[in-house]
């Protein structure tokens, strides 16, 4: 993908215009929901800034000059990307200190120097504070791009030193058209988008990684558990091989759908329209209050999963509680 995404046309046009006039700020904060291509946008902007002959019409990189070739190889000396290191959940202060060294030297090819920090909200306090100095006194012709899906988690001192560019979800038409171009005819773009909360790149990721099958398998287990056909502890163990947070997000979506099915008078729009009937059956066994209680529990578990927590115990807790709510087990009386 060497082109800007169709729903990025507006911010792209604006930034290219400012780049041409030499009025680009020293630091940009790209924010917006996850999975809509902010990182892609940042990389493309960097590529065009380091391109020797950007296309005159829309300012996109040519893809054939030395700068573009080096960028494609990931070895452009005037571009740095700071992200999460393997097995790390935060961006540490050492990674930011290295930047200072890089920005202290002049540029390699006498052009711009760029830095992408993504996901910027994963910087710990020390790292963010260490970045402040650079944000306050940036060297000439350098651009820092911070990418954050949750900019609220960044310290206000960092936020206030960047110009914010906000991205929003594309319209479902645009997103579906783009997605079907990418995935081919065998996938249902509407369902994928619905599962990804409308974010096209997240939807593409689901389609490409085979998570659709994984989701259905998980749902089947979930149903079995609801009917008392398997033990929650065994299931929690079996689910360890999947990413805990993602599993919890699937579960959250199923619960949300069940709540919708229960409360709506007309057939509601669902996140998981493909399993509507099965959700309906499950929802019939439960009352609304229980569903809401469980939704809270799952949301809280998903939040906990971002930290240092034993995934197996967390999942066991959620699943045991879920089974305890079910009338089939008869352990606790039905509410209301």
């Amino acid at each position: 993908m060497n082109e800007f995404l169709p729903w990025h046309a507006e911010p792209w046009r604006m930034l290219i215009e400012r780049l041409r006039q030499g009025r680009l700020p020293h630091a940009l904060l790209l924010c917006g929901p996850e999975g809509i291509g902010k990182d892609h946008f940042a990389r493309l902007l960097v590529q065009t800034m380091l391109c020797e002959t950007p296309r005159p019409d829309d300012g996109q990189p040519c893809g054939i000059c030395r700068g573009c070739l080096l960028n494609a190889a990931g070895s452009h000396p005037d571009s740095r990307v700071v992200g999460l290191l393997e097995d790390k959940k935060i961006i540490g202060v050492d990674q930011i200190r290295e930047l200072r060294e890089y920005l202290g030297l002049k540029s390699h090819y006498a052009g711009h120097r760029t830095v992408i920090i993504s996901p910027a909200e994963k910087m710990n306090t020390q790292a963010a504070n260490s970045l402040l100095k650079t944000l306050e006194e940036p060297p000439a012709r350098s651009l820092l791009i911070l990418v954050a899906s949750h900019p609220g988690q960044l310290p206000a001192t960092v936020r206030s030193r960047c110009q914010r560019v906000t991205f929003s979800l594309p319209s479902s038409d645009t997103a579906q058209r783009w997605l079907s171009e990418q995935t081919g005819p065998h996938q249902d773009p509407a369902l994928l988008l619905s599962l990804a909360g409308g974010a096209p790149l997240a939807a593409l990721e689901i389609a490409r990684s085979g998570k659709m099958d994984q989701r259905l398998a998980l749902f089947e287990d979930f149903e079995k558990l609801a009917c008392g056909q398997c033990s929650p502890v065994a299931l929690a163990g079996a689910w360890l091989k999947f990413e805990t947070q993602e599993t919890l997000y699937w579960m959250r979506d199923w619960l949300t759908d069940m709540i919708r099915l229960k409360s709506a008078t007309q057939p509601p729009t669902l996140i998981n329209p493909d399993v509507r009937q099965r959700l309906q059956n499950m929802a019939a066994m439960l009352d609304l209050k229980t569903l809401y209680q469980h939704l809270d529990r799952v949301t809280e578990a998903a939040r906990l999963a971002t930290g240092q927590i034993n995934a197996q115990l967390l999942m066991e807790d959620v699943l045991i509680a879920w089974q305890a709510h079910l009338p089939g087990k008869g352990k606790i009386p039905r509410h209301g």
Binding site: R66, L69, L70, A73, G74, S75, H76, P77, R100, E101, L103, G104, L105, K106, S107, H108, Y109, A110, K133, P139, A140
Partner: protein, 366 residues
């Protein structure tokens, strides 16, 4: 591409460029060296994105081509081959084959277009200077550079070019070293560049102790040292060096002439019992005599007395002993001149006869 070359002809340039390759690399391509064959010969390039080394070697071969080879492995293979061995290097697609006698090695390559070499840049100034002159200029100043200071522009050596003169200045905020040399600088107004620490150390390694001239090229972002068979390039530090002229004290009225070696040895002895963290040493100048005192938190004390040529009033002043010893070590004449004014002002240290090197050390409050 096919290259045939004698082991000895390849080994020396290869060792030179491999010195630049860092052992730990974030970018895989940087552990490779760029190999280019053409009419001019065989050129090898290595970089760590801060400095770059290029060598040129004549060879017997056919076509022009370029690729990149893993530096360390290529060097180790050439190094361990027997002496006077003939080396055949053939590049075939993504593989490179090295043959020599009955040995055969296949190495993985990366495309040459991925290699971030600097290549040519626009020269804004240049000058020729005798190698030993430049080496001396750096040797006498580089020790005062800051190390990993947050003021990144201090982590390097300032080279100031003005018509007919090259000046090197280094400071870490506590002491300063300045040295001048004359050179044919084709320039109309003063130009300042800051060479980063790493580049400075590489330069001293490369410069020989001979008066053969060397050509220095300056671009807006780079400094390059070139000779027919190699060229070394370093990036420059992006920043403005502080106004060092204001730091060099003027009009100090207390002039002390001392024997450099005697003073230095006395200071080194005294420093043994100075505070390990602050390295503070007290100097007491009286008529014809300098007394040096040091003590540490354990209440151990050292006292030294050195005969000096001094005829002013009594002066007591404190210094970081390491800074004074560094400055004295850089002075080349047997006699050294210290110029002071009072206990709160800087001390200027110079060779007793020459004016072209100046060392400034800040006093410590005792």
């Amino acid at each position: 591409m096919k290259i045939t070359i004698q082991r000895e002809n390849l080994l020396k340039p290869l060792q030179l460029v491999c010195g630049v390759v860092e052992r730990k690399q974030t970018l895989p391509i940087l552990s490779n060296i760029l190999v280019r064959a053409g009419k001019q010969g065989l050129s090898l390039t290595a970089t760590d994105l801060e400095i770059e080394m290029v060598t040129n070697t004549p060879f017997d071969g056919s076509s022009a081509a370029e690729t990149t080879l893993p530096a360390r492995k290529f060097l180790d293979i050439c190094r361990t081959l027997p002496e006077q061995a003939q080396i055949d290097l053939t590049i075939d697609g993504e593989r490179a084959v090295i043959r020599s006698g009955k040995s055969r090695f296949t190495l993985a390559t990366l495309p040459a277009s991925d290699f971030p070499n600097i290549g040519s840049f626009q020269e804004i100034a240049g000058f020729s200077i005798a190698q030993n002159t430049l080496k001396r200029l750096i040797d006498r100043t580089h020790f005062a550079m800051a190390q990993q200071d947050i003021r990144y522009y201090l982590n390097g050596l300032l080279l100031e070019l003005s018509p007919g003169r090259v000046r090197a200045v280094a400071t870490d905020g506590h002491r300063l070293a300045l040295c001048d040399a004359s050179a044919e600088v084709e320039i109309n107004e003063t130009l300042q560049i800051i060479v980063p620490r790493k580049g400075v150390h590489e330069l001293t390694r490369l410069l020989e102790d001979s008066d053969r001239p060397v050509r220095i090229h300056l671009g807006s972002n780079h400094i390059r040292l070139s000779s027919p068979d190699m060229s070394f390039t370093s990036k420059l530090i992006d920043g403005r060096f502080p106004d060092y002229q204001r730091v060099v004290p003027e009009g100090g009225d207390k002039i002390v002439i001392a024997d450099k070696e005697t003073l230095k040895q006395a200071l080194i002895r005294a420093s043994i019992l100075s505070n390990e963290k602050y390295r503070s040493v007290r100097f007491l100048f009286t008529e014809g005599k300098l007394r040096i005192f040091a003590h540490n938190p354990e209440q151990e004390e050292a006292e030294e007395e050195v005969a000096v040529d001094y005829s002013g009033e009594k002066l007591e002043i404190g210094f970081n002993v390491n800074y004074v010893v560094d400055a004295l070590s850089a002075v080349t004449t047997p006699q050294v001149r210290l110029i002071l004014s009072d206990a709160n002002s800087c001390c200027l240290i110079q060779a007793a006869d020459g004016e072209n090197c100046k060392y400034v050390v800040m006093p410590m409050r005792l």
